[in-house]
């Protein structure tokens, strides 16, 4: 065969046509949608979440020597080293906007999974959209127990829900009672949105089942300008344990009002939220020595698992903060979905779902105090053990459960 000008031309065109394809195969990426409140009153949560997700993305996309899924590889080996790309969207804590943004992420940005959403009400509509489009939804940090009980096939939550959190508190009370402490009466103090309502319902039920007397059950208006009347009721009840379920601004107001009215609770065991936020301790930390909050994360884990400390440093470099209860769960949310996509070797929603169902990550391959990550038929991880943390000497120490504890609880609090 003689080489004519035409064949040269043909060959050149063919290789030119092939080039972009080859290039595309190299830079193949997996797009994941991240839906958080990035403006409005909970914008700070969204901004912190962004840093947590970017830290997880960095670990997945680059090589790190951690015992964490996908850390030792660059990108997803199951998909030829494809990198994770995140698309952030803002739902402004509005279920309607969450739904619209989820639809946009799926149809325009072509995401293969969505992670979100902080507010449980928004998770309701976002998970509905994901179900309709057969795209997995990772509920990273929503704690409402009603979420996974709706018969959804594409809903997954690796972290504990509020009933598990409340159960951990009552297990702790039971253990203290066995040691001879007197705990008989409880006072519940909760805000009136989905979070406070769910939390109080779970606590009321547990108190009844385990024989604790609820001497005050006070529901208050979230973001209330004054809590004086409510605190007076708490003071009158003077229960053995005060159990608040409050977001940050309300928690600050509660602590200030208690100090003004001269009420010093015997013990405070809080349902996370405001009580795990740095802002609360910056504002009124001096009045909170000995307060106990449930959590799903504890930096004490770094003593047993050094990578936790190193990853925390990476996060801190981005955000200026230590991992807290929310950012750690958000971080794990992306690791869990990326690990499943890697095993699915596909970005098809149904195949990722099947991989998620088969998830089995041992606890020491996470940054959490959990036993492991496995999803039940409803998409809930029942092995996510919560921890109880006590605020002692300007930092939190883990006091329960026994396998994660590094110190004895100071009871009653000072």
């Amino acid at each position: 065969m003689t080489i004519t000008r035409r064949t040269v031309l043909l060959g050149a065109t063919a290789s030119a046509a092939l080039l972009p394809i080859a290039a595309r195969a190299d830079t193949k990426e997996v797009v994941i949608g991240v839906l958080y409140p990035l403006s409005g009153s909970s914008a700070q949560i969204g901004v912190d979440a962004k840093h947590a997700f970017e830290t997880a993305q960095d670990i997945i996309n680059n090589k790190y020597d951690f015992d964490l899924p996908l850390a030792r590889d660059a990108g997803l080996p199951g998909l030829g080293g494809a990198k994770i790309r995140l698309v952030f969207a803002d739902h402004q804590a509005d279920p309607q906007k969450g739904r619209a943004e989820a639809e946009r992420l799926i149809t325009q940005e072509k995401v293969c999974a969505i992670v979100g959403t902080y507010q449980s009400a928004v998770a309701v509509t976002v998970s509905q959209v994901c179900e309709r489009y057969q795209i997995p939804f990772i509920s990273a940090d929503n704690s409402s127990p009603s979420l996974h009980r709706r018969g959804l096939k594409f809903y997954f939550r690796a972290a504990p829900h509020d009933e598990m959190f409340s159960k951990a508190m009552f297990d702790f009370f039971d253990a203290l009672k066995k040691k001879g402490q007197k705990i008989e009466t409880l006072a519940l103090f909760h805000e009136d949105t989905i979070f406070g309502t769910d939390s109080a319902n779970a606590q009321l039920k547990l108190a009844k089942d385990r024989g604790y007397k609820v001497v005050a059950d006070i529901k208050y208006r979230a973001n209330s300008p004054s809590l004086t009347a409510e605190v007076q009721q708490l003071k009158a009840a003077n229960a053995d344990v005060l159990m608040p379920s409050s977001y940050t601004t309300d928690a600050i107001l509660l602590v200030k009002t208690m100090a003004e009215l001269g009420y010093k609770p015997k013990n405070i065991v809080a349902q996370d939220a405001g009580f795990s936020e740095k802002a609360l301790y910056d504002a009124v930390g001096d009045k909170l020595e000995g307060v106990i909050s449930r959590g799903s994360f504890s930096l004490d884990l770094a003593q047993k698992r050094p990578m936790v400390g190193k990853i925390n440093e990476m996060y801190k470099k981005n955000s200026g903060k230590d991992f807290n209860d929310y950012s750690s769960r958000q971080f794990m949310g992306l690791i869990v979905i990326a690990e499943a996509i890697n095993r699915a070797k596909s970005t098809d929603g149904d195949k990722i779902r099947q991989a998620l169902v088969a998830t089995n990550i041992p606890g020491d391959h996470t940054i959490m105090p959990w036993k492991d990550i496995k999803f039940d038929a409803q998409g809930q991880n029942d092995d996510a053990d919560p921890v109880l943390l006590q605020y002692v000497g300007k930092k939190f120490v883990t006091i329960a459960p026994p396998q994660a504890a590094v110190a004895e609880a100071i009871w009653p609090m000072k």
């Binding site: 990035l38 403006s39 409005g40 914008a43 969204g46 901004v47 962004k50 698309v87 952030f88 969207a89 803002d90 402004q92 509005d94 279920p95 309607q96 906007k97 739904r99 619209a100 943004e101 639809e103 946009r104 149809t107 325009q108 009400a121 309701v124 509509t125 509905q128 309709r132 489009y133 409402s144 009603s146 709706r150 018969g151 009136d192 949105t193 989905i194 406070g196 309502t197 769910d198 529901k219 208006r221």
Partner: protein, 327 residues
């Protein structure tokens, strides 16, 4: 002479509306993107809601900052009837509208005696009370809200898995209905009464206008239409909670398009919604992801700009030009 031009103007309005509706109805043939369709649905919904608000707030001059109450009632009645009693949303919608109209009459009885700012304050307070009641009413879902799972496409249940078109055409119908009601009322005896009441209630009364009754009429019609919009919203989002349908923010969102577009005018709410809604949605989606709140700054800045340069609404732009031409 005046009568002839008036009749011509009214006929021209009707023709413009017919052309706009026909054009809008064709848009989904070309725009297949669900995200853009979603913005169009919301724009039409707010155009209808603001038009409904305009009947009471614009024409009759009774500034209500509590329309979230009627919106929420429409949404809740429809959702509760559907999830608890299996009543189809088409009937739930009418029930919600009627209940809202009755409540508007019951609330109007004491509040329409209040003048000016006191009426506005009363509407805020009443809507806030209703919001708190729903937030604490366990049977109605309290803070957890009502989740209406969509299992299949169904016209009977007005639920659709992925398609936005049925919602789009309903929203178009709703906006058109609210516009036609306004168009018709504008030229009726009531329309003239309302404007008289707005300008000077005492003078109107002395000339034989039944001020109190005409306010009640405006309140009931406005509440009925707003509740239909609320019922639509519940079906469209398929989940409602007190924060999402009854918060004070909604009262403002309902009034804003009319205020920005031109309060007490036929076209003001439509124009206001057509500008404000796409603006909020697009800025949030395309610059809201940064977490710096730029989208809200842009949005707030534009509203300030409009209110400073066109205090009587954007519609003023058109009428001014017309006057200049006439000169």
């Amino acid at each position: 002479m005046h009568d002839v031009t008036h009749a011509i103007r009214r006929r021209r309005d009707l023709i413009v509306a017919a052309v706009l509706v026909a054009l809008a109805a064709c848009v989904p043939l070309f725009v297949k993107d669900v995200y853009v369709q979603n913005i169009m649905v919301l724009t039409l919904m707010y155009a209808g809601l603001s038009q409904s608000w305009n009947i009471l707030g614009g024409y009759c001059g009774q500034i209500s900052l509590g329309h979230a109450l009627y919106f929420g009632l429409g949404a809740y009645v429809t959702a509760i009837l559907l999830t608890k009693f299996g009543v189809l949303p088409w009937f739930g919608m009418l029930a919600g509208g009627l209940i809202s109209a009755l409540i508007a009459l019951a609330l109007g009885y004491p509040t329409f005696r209040l003048g000016g700012h006191y009426f506005a304050i009363a509407t805020i307070v009443i809507a806030e009370i209703a919001y708190l009641l729903f937030l604490n009413w366990d049977w109605a879902g309290a803070a957890l809200g009502i989740d209406m799972m969509v299992r299949e496409d169904s016209w009977l249940k007005f639920q659709f898995l992925r398609s936005k078109l049925p919602y789009f055409y309903f929203a178009l119908f709703f906006a058109l209905a609210a516009w036609l009601v306004t168009w018709w009322l504008e030229n009726s005896k009531w329309g003239y009464w309302w404007r008289a009441v707005k300008d000077n209630p005492d003078a109107a009364e002395s000339l034989g206008v039944v001020v109190f009754k005409s306010k009640m009429g405006a309140g009931a019609i406005s509440a009925f239409l707003t509740a239909i919009g609320g019922a639509f919203y519940a079906m469209f989002v398929s989940y409602i909670d007190p924060d999402a349908v009854m918060s004070f923010q909604f009262s403002l969102l309902i009034a804003l398009p009319a205020v920005v577009g031109g309060i007490g005018t036929l076209w003001g709410p439509v124009l206001g919604a057509a500008i404000l809604i796409p603006l909020t949605e697009l800025t949030r989606s395309f610059i809201g992801g940064s977490g710096r709140g730029v989208d809200l700054i842009v949005y707030g800045g534009l509203i300030m700009l409009i209110s400073l340069t066109r205090p009587d609404g954007l519609l003023g732009l058109f009428s001014r030009r017309k006057k200049e031409v006439a000169r």
